[in-house]
Amino acid sequence: MADHRKVFAIGAEFNSAADLYHAAEKIRDAGYSKWDCHTPFPVHGLDKAMGMSKSWLSAFVFMCGVTGFITGLLLVTVTSFGLYPIIVNGKPIDWWPGLASLQFMFPPIYELTILFSAFGATFGMILRNGLPRFNHPVFNWSRFAKVTDDKFFIIIEQKDVKFSETKTKALLEEIGGQHISLIHEEEN
C-alpha cells in the first residue's frame, strides 16, 4: 500500500448504533469538524452526539410555500379579474370585492402552495446534500458498501484541521473503531 495517492479520509467501522453514538460523542469532544457518521438508517439523537444544529431545510420549504401561494393567488386573480372575467354563479368578476372573498377559488391557491413546498422539500434536500454525486471517494473503500446494510461508519476527512494520519487513527482505535483504514481520492 505504499502509494502516493491523495488521502481523502480515515474511516472506521462500528457494529451497532450504540457504539457509533458513543464514538461520535468522543469525536465531537475531540474537536473535529469535517467528519460524518454513516448509518444504514437515521439514528435518533446522533445530531446531538455529533454537535450538529437543526436542519433549516424547513425554512427553505416555507419560502417555497410562500412562492406557491403567491403564484396561485396571481394565477387565479389576474386571469379571473383581469384577463378573462367569466360571469358564473353570480360570483365577483372585479378585483373588488373579488379579492375580499377569494374562498370561491381558493383550492387552486391551496394546491399550488403544497405543490411548490413539496418540490422545495424534495429538491432542497437533494441539492443541500450535494446529490446527485456518483463518484464520491468513500465508495473506494470496499467495506463501505455495508453502510446500506448493517454496519456503521465514522469518516474523518483529511480536510479537517485536526486531521493527522496517526493521531486520528489512534483516536478511532481508542473509541472502538474496527477495520480502520485510509480512504484515497482515487480508486484502489
Binding site: A17, A18, D19, Y21, H22, D36, H38, T39, P40, F41, P42, V43, H44, G45, L46, D47, A49, M52, S55, L57, S58, V61, L75, T79, S80, L83, Y84, I86, V88, N89, M105, P107, P108, E111, L112, I114, L115, S117, A118, A121, T122, G124, M125, I126, N129, L131, P132, R133, F134, H136, V138, F139, A145, V147, T148, D149, D150, E174, I175, G176
Partner: protein, 488 residues
Amino acid sequence: MATNEQKAMDSYEVVLHCPKELERVPLVKNDRSFAWITEKVAVICEEPTRKWWWICFFLFAPIALFVPTLLAYQVGNGVGVWGENQPFGWAWDITNFVFWIGIGHAGTLISAILFLTRQKWRTSINRAAEAMTLFAVMCAGLYPGFHVGKFWKAWYLAPVPNYNGIWQNFRSPLLWDVFAVSTYFTVSVLFWYVGLIPDLATLRDRAKSKVKQIAYGIAALGWRGGNRHWQHYEMAYLVLAGLSTPLVLSVHSIVSFDFATSVIPGWHTTIFPPYFVAGAIFGGFAMVLTLMLPARLLYPQLDDMITRQHVDKMTKIILLTGSIVGYAYLMELFVAMVYSGNFYEYNAFYNRATGWYDWHYAMMMFCNVVAPQIFWFKKMRQNYIVVFFICQLVNMGMWYERFVIIGTTLAQDFLPSSWGHYTPSWVEVFTFIGTFGMFITLFIIFMRFLPMITIFEVKAVKKEADPHYHPEGDHKDEENKPKEAAAH
C-alpha cells in the same frame, strides 16, 4: 405496594419494565438482525423471476391492454360509445374516477398521517401502500381526461396562455379537481421517491450486474447515508408528511365538491367532504390488504415484518372508518328524510333506497356498514381468509357507494319527465376491468424491481436501532464495550 414503589425508586429497571400483558409486541418478529432485513427484502428484487410472477404478468398485462385499446376506440368514435346520455352525464366514468382516487388515499394516510402520529407499525407497509396510491391515481386520472370527449383538447384544463386568450374558470370545482389530483399525484411521487432513495442505495450496493449497479446507482443519486445527509433527509420527509396530510384531506374533499357545489338533490349537502374522506380511507385500506395479504403468501419471509399485528391494526382502521361511513349514510338519510323538509331531497333518498337502483343501495349498505362490523371480533381480525373476504366486500361496496351517489341522483332528479335509466356499454365495462389489469400489472412490476418494504425504516424501528439500547440492559454499558471501558 409501598415496597414496590420503593423498589421503583431504587432501581431504574422496575420503572422501565411494564407488566407482561401490556408489553409492546415487537414490530419485527423473531428478533431479526439488520442484515436479515436487508437480505430478505432485497432478495425479492434480485432473485430470478419466479414462475408465479410470469403467470400473473401474462394474466394481467393483456387485461391492462384493454385500457389503451378501448380508450383509443372511444377517442376514435366519441364518448357515445359509453352508455351515458342525458340525464346520465356522469356514469361509470366518474364513478370509477372517484373509486380509484379514493383507493389512493389509504397510501397517503399510511405514509403521512401515521408518520406524523408516530405510528411505527406503518414502516413495513408504507412503501407498497404508496406505490398503490400512485397506480390508483394513474387509473383514476384516465377517466376525467377521456370523459372530456375531445381528448386532444384536454390540455385546455391547464392554465397555459393560448391563442384564443381564454382562461379557465377558477370558480369551478371541476378545475379545482384538476389542480388537486395533479398536485396529489406529483407530491405522492416525490414522497415515494424520497422514501426510496436510501433503499435504492442498498440495492445499488448489493447489485452484482453492471446494468443493475448503474440503474439503481443513478436512481439512488449517490446516497452515502451520512448523518449530515440524514439530517436534511429526515427534515424533508417530515415536511413532506406534513404537506401530504392536508393535501390528502383536500383531494377527496375537492372531489366531493364536484357534487356538493351543484344544486341536484342528493348531491347538494355539506356532509360530503368528511364523508368522502372517511370512505376513501376505508376503501383504500381494504385495497392495501387486498394487495398485501397475497404478497405475504408469495414471500413468506415478509411474515416477520408484516405481522398479524399490522393486519389487526389495519382492520381496526377499516372498522373505524367503515363506521364513520355508516354514520354518514344514516345522517344523510336523516337530514334528507326528516330534517330538511325538502320534497326533492326526500324523494332523492327515497328513490335511492327503493327506486331503480335499490339493490345498489342495499349492496352499499351491506358491504360498507354491516360487513366490516365483523372486525369487532379479534378472532375474525386474525383470520386472513375472513379479512381478505371482507376486504373484497369493502372494495365492492365502495364502488357501489360511488355509483349510488352519482348514478341514482342523476337518474331521478326534479322532474319525472327528465328521468332516465342507464346501463353501461361493453366499452365502459371492459375499460373498468382493464384498469384493474393495469393496477395489478403495475403493482407486480413494482414488486419485482423495487423493495416493497422500506428497508431502512424497518431497521430503524428495531430496538437495536436506538443508540441507548444495550442488549443486557442500560446499566451494563461498560461490560458490553470493553474497549470503551478501558478508555475511561
